[in-house]
Symmetry: C2
Subunit: 138 residues, 2 copies
Amino acid sequence: MTTVTQSPHPLRALVESGNHEGIEELLHPDVQFRSPAVHTPYEGRETCLHLLGHVVEVFEDFRYVDQIDTGNRTGLVFRANVTAPDGTTKAVEGWDYLTHDEEGKITEFVVMARPLSGLIALAQAMGARLEADPVPKG
Amino acid sequence: MTTVTQSPHPLRALVESGNHEGIEELLHPDVQFRSPAVHTPYEGRETCLHLLGHVVEVFEDFRYVDQIDTGNRTGLVFRANVTAPDGTTKAVEGWDYLTHDEEGKITEFVVMARPLSGLIALAQAMGARLEADPVPKG
């Protein structure tokens, strides 16, 4: 067996330390964010930070459980719970699929999640928050 | 920049060559399959093969677009289209998140997909097929 010595991805390190403000530094100004729920990508760092600011509030008991790296891509697997607006809590398993430029800035930030029940709760919880606090216009 | 020399994962190689029968050899007898739609894992090779047999029929224009490897885990990113029972076709982006034992057999086969519209079409198309051809009892 090969022993893989793996550094925690900077995003993982920040999230695990609770330093969400540091995330801005990791994002390319033109980062594309593809949410697990919505088809159309979101564009730009400010928009991405706005969304992530709500995501960290929506996820309960969030923890990263795996990291896979190859070249300029990293996959961070997570588990969490999400409480939908009707009060029911669902388990979610997902991953952050990150692509980086030569300087290590994240240029693509894709999130996928399962199962359907968890993703629906996530979409509903995020939808309610974004209705009250819409994504800034570019 | 580091140049990563990467062999295609055997599952990717089989799917891309159209040899779906070879997939059985890759799966551990007790493989756990976590579908993108359903919360409860499916258990065992026969069940997993039954599900994958329908999955390959449901996905149109299926292609793998990325592969990430670390240790005994591989992430295969794919894109495809899915036509729901009502006839509407949706784009899906997803990944197969695979964990292997020491012999390289797949012990965990997790699939996640986005966006919600694509996952719903996938769940509906799979649901219709599994109603007509149920998963075998263990």
